[in-house]
């Protein structure tokens, strides 16, 4: 009875908060093939692309629920999901590899032409030179796993995926192993390691559980799928050859794939 009275009191406080906490759900942010970046509203299988573009010529994005990284014309910006800029960095890097995880100081960018890892320490971007002489391939994913270490996924020439841990204080390689099963341009989000498997998207959990979702009835060329984070739990997958976009929800146990609408309505002549 005492507890019940406590919670009834608590509800009174909650009711005052509820009105301001009811909104249209925002699912994430996606960059399309034309470089435009749009906010996506909705729930699973019911997606709406905001007609107003956050940016129009981005060459890479990575978003968490509250903020994200956006690269355009050699400038990397840390922005909110409404497009407002928190801070920017002149990278002159044409194709940086971006990533941001749910926690605040995870925003990072790999600048391959400068051999630099750029990361946000909560106040400013910090440059860490990385010894990538032993990488022997293209970096497809980077993540700051702690204040002292970062993890790289590297696509090797034989299509296997190297998982390389790097010390952030020194920039030296700590360990190298092969991600079992993964092939080509691997990506990671919510504990899933993800890669293109023919015309399918394949994902594997740390416990070895693997799921493969067919994306196309037709064969897709190798290295056709591009992946970018839309938010904490949503991933944007796009096909360069078909122009199709998908939004993938990553739960702890399953990959759920939905078609992502295009941002511009067709003009019928």
């Amino acid at each position: 009875m005492k507890r019940s009275a406590f919670f009834r009191w608590a509800l009174l406080a909650a009711s005052a908060l509820l009105r301001g906490q009811l909104s249209i759900p925002q699912l994430g942010v996606a960059r399309y093939a034309d470089g435009s970046v749009h906010l996506i509203r909705g729930v699973a299988a019911n997606l709406i692309v905001d007609s107003r573009a956050i940016a129009t010529s981005a060459d890479g994005v990575s978003f968490a629920d509250s903020a994200g990284l956006l690269s355009a014309r050699g400038v990397i910006r840390l922005i909110r999901t409404d497009g407002s800029v928190l801070v920017e960095y002149q990278s002159t890097e044409p194709l940086p590899v971006l990533n941001i995880d749910p926690f605040a100081q995870s925003a990072a960018a790999w600048l391959p032409s400068k051999h630099l890892l750029l990361r946000w320490n909560g106040r400013q971007f910090v440059e860490t030179p990385i010894d990538d002489s032993s990488f022997s391939g293209r970096v497809t994913f980077v993540s700051v796993v702690s204040s002292k270490a970062a993890q790289f996924y590297v696509a090797r020439a034989d299509s296997s995926v190297a998982r390389i841990a790097v010390s952030l204080p020194s920039g030296n390689v700590i360990s190298v192993d092969t991600a079992p099963g993964a092939r080509g341009r691997a990506f990671m989000q919510q504990g899933w390691i993800l890669w293109q498997d023919g015309a399918s998207l394949a994902g594997e959990r740390p416990n070895g559980f693997r799921q493969t979702v067919a994306l196309s009835q037709q064969p897709l060329p190798p290295a056709d799928l591009a992946m970018e984070r839309m938010s904490d739990h949503w991933l944007h997958v796009s096909s360069r050859s078909t122009g199709t976009d998908w939004a993938v929800y990553l739960s702890a146990t399953q990959l759920n794939v939905f078609l992502l609408p295009t941002p511009v309505a067709e003009v019928v002549r």
Binding site: F6, R19, L22, I24, P25, V43, S136, L259, T262
Partner: protein
């Protein structure tokens, strides 16, 4: 970037390196069909004799047979064994640039013999690479960079024979032979809009054997810009005998002033052409436009027929185009039009002025041309506006598209679905046709006009241009017969309409019934001193409001009783104030805890009700 670095190193290589480098590769001539086994590429390799203007490919399989990892920069064919200057008689295609090859790894690429002049031609196949040995690295800011090497591995000899076919045209100074894909288009003379300029081309077989005549065409470059050129190949034989030639004509027929461009296609060779339409008489200054069902077309050209589309025969139905003749000049001079005539079965004029018709500056006159076929078939005609000629065509179909139906994947429709729609015909279509597929949405919720999530996914719109091939039983969009769409989160009815020319519009309506609230996700977060509960979902009736929260301790025992809360006013404000996004919502409730620890609360169950019923969802506190 790596390739640039490799090239930079080459500049400082000592000349002796060409002969001192150990070759880590073994090269084979490769048959991609797998019929013939690979054969080692000889140090002196004889290529197939090739006519000037043609190309002979040789596929190479290159294997790293060393015990080291090799960074393969590129392969090129140069003018000498000690040079990296590209030889214009060769090209290398299919090289996977900046490839790292482990021991045993291989790559395929193609050596193309593309002679530019007759005679014996020699090229030198050079490989650019680094070998990772003695602890060196390919790139990076630390360590010893592996030396870059360029190595000549084979001398390629080939004989370039005389070209098989040459294209030329006659000028006062003699014949001029044209070069395919030239950056300088062949210029037709400036031509009055009421005149034409033909050029006769000669295709000569300079060999000693007869050859099949390649296809000759004027490909459409831009469908919105009709071609100003006409092609006449009626005198061209299927085969051109040895030493013989064939003539054909391209005529520049401008109907608008300014530069007009095009391409003459001979087999796989492309020859750019261009000409300028000019005004040499007052009647040339008239600007002609016409209006059809898709809008106003302002650039009709005499060389491209004006299409009247498809009309049912013998039904009395007509396709009518309205023409406008504008005198765009600002001078005081009027233009006098002596006549407007039309010829051709099924074509007729209407709304003509009296002739001679005087058009003052800035003024225009209009008239109509109707296409009224009496039988099935294709019809052509001509229209003359004074001395300005235009050609016309129209098609009369025996029948329109019939027997349409629609099917969706996934059974009866409900909210929050992505489904595929298929446009079916009961029997193979007798005709090819272009049509439109339209979807409309009528909410069944009072005071709600739309739901923006009801859309075709391919365009985020509600109308698509679809096509139907002759003999097909499904219409397609972007060559796909399955057309994806969303059902939104509002109860109501989606109506699809399919319209093809000369066919009754087919419509089919799918009902989305009202349903209980759907909670798609529930998150519970203990952030001392608060408990945060976030739920997302939708209510397709827009009537939700009554909530209740039931808390459980970490052993699963209920804490107190369910706590009701009426959020109707908040939901009504969300759903009915500037909302086009349907019945979606995201709700976050915060419960301050002051009499105990948030860690003692294990889970929460949320119940939500609307006018249809209620639904429940649970989550454990994180």
């Amino acid at each position: 970037m790596k390739r640039a670095r490799l090239a930079l190193f080459l500049l400082v290589l000592p000349p002796a390196l060409y002969s001192q480098t150990t070759n880590p590769f073994t090269l084979y001539v490769h048959d991609t069909t797998g019929v013939r086994p690979d054969t080692p590429l000889a140090t002196i390799y004889q290529l197939a004799s090739t006519a000037v203007g043609n190309s002979s490919p040789t596929v190479i399989k290159m294997i790293n047979t060393s015990s080291y990892t090799v960074y393969f920069g590129t392969a090129l064919i140069s003018t000498s064994a000690t040079s990296t200057a590209a030889n214009p008689n060769f090209s290398v295609t299919g090289v996977f640039e900046d490839e790292t090859l482990g021991p045993g790894a291989s790559v395929l690429y193609t050596l193309n013999f593309t002679p530019t002049s007759t005679g014996v031609v020699t090229g030198y196949l050079n490989l650019l690479f680094q070998v990772q040995q003695n602890g060196c690295v390919f790139s990076g800011s630390t360590g010893t960079i592996c030396p870059a090497n360029v190595l000549s591995v084979s001398t390629l000899n080939g004989t370039a024979t005389a070209p098989q076919l040459t294209l030329s045209y006659q000028t006062a100074a003699g014949p001029v032979v044209l070069t395919p894909s030239s950056s300088s288009p062949l210029n037709f003379p400036n031509t009055s809009l009421s005149s034409t300029s033909p050029i006769t081309f000669t295709l000569t077989n300079a060999t000693t054997i007869a050859t099949t005549t390649p296809s000759i065409s004027l490909p459409v470059i831009n469908t919105n810009e009709p071609s100003a050129f006409e092609l006449n190949t009626s005198g061209v034989p299927a085969t051109i005998a040895a030493g013989q030639a064939a003539n054909f004509t391209v005529t520049f027929v401008p109907s608008q002033t300014g530069l007009a461009s095009g391409e003459l296609q001979i087999g796989s060779n492309t020859y750019p052409i261009q000409g300028a339409g000019i005004i040499v008489a007052t009647i040339d200054s008239l600007q002609i436009s016409y209006t059809n069902s898709t809008g106003t077309r302002t650039l009709p050209q005499a060389a491209t027929p004006i299409s009247f589309g498809q009309v049912l025969p013998g039904s009395g139905a007509s396709a009518v185009l309205t023409f406008s003749v504008l005198n765009p000049t600002t001078s005081a001079n009027s233009v006098t039009l002596p006549s407007i005539t039309v010829s051709g079965t099924g074509f007729s004029l209407g709304g003509l002025p009296s002739f001679p018709a005087v058009i003052p500056p800035g003024n225009s006159l209009t008239f109509t041309v109707a296409f009224t076929p009496v039988s099935a078939g294709s019809f052509s005609g001509s229209l003359a506006i004074g001395s300005l000629p235009f050609s016309l065509n129209g098609v009369s179909l025996a029948s329109g598209v019939q027997g349409l139906s629609l099917t969706t994947s996934g059974g009866p429709l409900s909210s929050q679905q992505q489904l595929n729609l298929t446009v079916n015909l009961a029997a193979p279509s007798p005709v090819a046709a272009l049509g439109t597929l339209t979807m409309t949405f009528a909410p069944s919720v009072a005071n709600v006009s739309d739901d923006a999530a009801v859309l075709f996914i391919a365009t985020s719109g509600r109308q698509l241009n679809i096509s139907l091939a002759a003999g097909a039983q499904n219409a397609t969009y972007n060559n796909q017969s399955s057309i994806a769409f969303q059902t939104g989160t509002t109860a109501g009815a989606i109506t699809f309409s399919v319209a093809f020319p000369n066919s009754a519009t087919y419509t089919q309506t799918f009902t989305i019934p009202a349903a209980v609230p759907k909670i798609t996700s529930t998150q519970a977060l203990a952030e001392s001193p608060n408990l945060l509960v976030t739920i997302s979902g939708y209510d397709n009736t827009y009537s939700a409001g009554q909530l209740s929260f039931t808390f459980y301790d970490t052993t699963g025992k209920i804490i107190g009783s369910a706590i009701p809360y009426n959020a109707t006013a908040a939901f009504q404000q969300l759903f009915f104030t500037n909302n086009q996004d349907g019945g979606m919502f995201s709700l976050q409730a915060s419960f301050p805890v002051t009499g105990g620890s948030v860690s003692s609360v294990g889970s929460v169950t949320v119940t939500m009700a609307n006018s249809v019923g209620q639904s429940t969802s649970s989550a454990s506190f994180q």
